[in-house]
């Protein structure tokens, strides 16, 4: 049983345990038995299930971004470049980060509370008693599903964001659709897209590992489940934001 994370020693142990879980689940992903059904269920839950909220967020973010940036651009007489600005900001930064934060809130909390209640009601122990490795059965499918779905969700967020921007540009700012779209297209280069797809893979891994770890270490009944769920969302969100800074720095270093 792990103590609650107070003090430096507990923090170090927690980091170690989380890293260990990550290593074990990556190793477990390549060893039999494989739980394809569970992977599909999780992909459906995390990917398809998050689609609506991702599209909504993407659309409104793109729309707001267009409003704000066109106002700023008009000061320099460069309204025509609004599309570029929107697409670059979305693809590089807002798409990956916002969809990761949303998935952390939606799927990460779900993972932590589900695994947490399984832990508290001894279902995890029952699983072990029946000879199943809970890391393979519970953690690996969630990790795999999040890592594969997160980039796809990010692409959806980027695309709906650009469409949202288009709606505002055409409907409210009298920018022609042609100008907006060609500017958006020209603004992006290969590395923007590549960087924008590496980020969600890393974020997805963070969400799954942190949330599963929070769920698996739950103790103390219903209250404990609530605590784990909150922790999962807070810790993965903070980690996403911090990692984003360093990832951006790395990607810029290697691409410019």
């Amino acid at each position: 049983m792990t103590p609650m994370p107070f003090g430096p020693k507990a923090a170090v142990i927690e980091v170690q345990e989380t890293a260990l879980l990550a290593v074990r689940s990556i190793r477990g992903a390549f060893r039999r038995p494989f739980y394809f059904r569970d992977i599909l269920i999780q992909m459906d839950h995390i990917g398809v299930g998050s689609l609506t909220i991702i599209m909504l967020t993407g659309f409104s973010t793109g729309a707001v971004l267009t409003l704000q940036s066109s106002a700023a651009m008009s000061r320099f007489g460069a309204v025509g470049l609004t599309g570029s600005l929107v697409s670059v900001v979305l693809v590089r930064e807002l798409g990956p980060v916002l969809s990761a934060l949303l998935v952390a809130g939606r799927a990460g909390s779900g993972m932590a509370s589900e695994l947490g209640s399984m832990q508290v009601t001894e279902q995890v122990n029952a699983m072990r008693a029946l000879g199943t490795d809970p890391i393979k059965k519970l953690v690996v499918p969630r990790l795999f599903a999040t890592v594969t779905m997160q980039p796809l969700l990010t692409i959806v967020a980027d695309a709906t964001g650009i469409v949202g921007g288009l709606a505002v540009a055409v409907g409210m700012l009298q920018i022609s659709a042609n100008l907006y779209l060609s500017s958006a297209w020209n603004g992006l280069n290969y590395y923007d897209v590549l960087g924008g797809l590496i980020k969600p893979i890393v974020f997805g891994a963070i969400i799954a590992v942190v949330s599963c770890r929070c769920g698996m270490r739950t103790e103390g009944g219903t209250q404990g489940i609530g605590r784990s769920t909150t922790q999962a969302v807070v810790v993965s969100s903070v980690l996403i934001l911090v990692t984003d800074f360093f990832l951006t720095r790395l990607i810029l270093l290697y691409t410019s």
Binding site: M1, P3, P33, T121, E122, Q123, N125, A126, M127, R128, A129, L130, G131, T132, D133
Partner: protein, 279 residues
């Protein structure tokens, strides 16, 4: 379930290694010592009833036997194999030889009764027809055939306990561990569960460890036996002519074993804690 043979024969413990063994085991949670230098053996055909108050380390003992937790000192052996140092992977191969019924049933609540009982069989890639056949047979044994398609949330506490029993039996374990299987159940439902456990012991020859703090259940187990005649199972109270020799009591107190022996000796014990406990 295989049919019973003459139950008086073949009841002596095999001289081979015990099915389960704890060797001078100690276990700590944080700074508090839950088990203190405990040694324990379970041989084939034996039933051991672990008695003790709350927090005496009963459940911890079961978890150690199952290899779900590792001891801080001492060794745990399953069929002579030391599990203290075994990897989680090897443990997963060993654990299914022993069935365990958890305190609160611990059924997988996202799976139906059928899927719960069939869980281990699917893991082993057994033939679909064979799985259905076996699950039906086992659910018939615990008397829950009609609940086969229900979800755990639709079941009563006693039914859940029986499904949990069925799930543990599905892979035909050599030993069963019961963690307070009757806790929180009414006397009639408890009686049903106890009868199933007695039947398993007497007609199917499953060794078992039964953890409880309810004396009534413990003495039921020690004083009754199942007799099968004309396909009917009857439960007979021991009448002095017949002694259920291989059901023994183990009394835990503050992390240590303070008594081990048959029920008549337990009743006559002069230890003040035991006297208070069985009074």
């Amino acid at each position: 379930m295989k049919a019973s043979e003459d139950r008086s024969s073949d009841r002596t413990p095999a001289s081979a290694a015990p099915l389960l063994e704890l060797r001078r085991v100690s276990k700590y949670y944080g700074d508090s010592r839950v088990l203190n230098d405990v040694s324990f053996e379970l041989y084939r055909g034996e039933t051991k009833i672990i008695l003790g108050g709350s927090g005496s380390g009963k459940s911890t003992m079961l978890k150690l036997m199952m290899g779900l937790e590792r001891p801080d000192e001492g060794q745990v052996l399953i069929e002579g194999v030391d599990v203290t140092t075994a990897s989680e992977r090897d443990l997963n191969l060993l654990r299914p030889r022993i069935g365990m019924v958890f305190q609160e049933s611990a059924l997988f609540d996202s799976l139906s009764v059928f899927e719960n009982v069939a869980y281990r069989l699917y893991e082993r890639n057994m033939d679909e027809e064979e799985i259905e056949d076996r699950v039906e047979r086992i659910l018939g044994f615990v008397g829950l055939k009609e609940a086969i398609n229900q979800m755990p949330s639709e079941l009563s506490g006693g039914m859940k306990r029986r499904v949990s029993l069925a799930r543990a039996l599905a892979f035909q374990p050599k030993a069963m561990l019961y963690d307070e299987p009757t806790a929180g159940l009414d006397p009639i439902t408890s009686r049903k569960i106890n009868e199933l456990i007695i039947r398993l012991r007497d007609t199917d020859d499953v060794s078992s460890v039964f953890v409880t703090h309810r004396l009534r259940d413990a003495f039921t187990l020690a004083s009754q036996y199942a007799a099968e005649a004309d396909g009917q199972v009857r439960f007979v109270r021991e009448d002095g002519t017949f002694c259920i020799a291989h059901t023994r009591f183990v009394m835990l107190h503050e992390g240590g074993i303070i008594f081990e022996g048959p029920d008549e000796v337990l009743r006559k014990s002069t230890d003040p804690y035991i006297q208070k406990f069985i009074a």
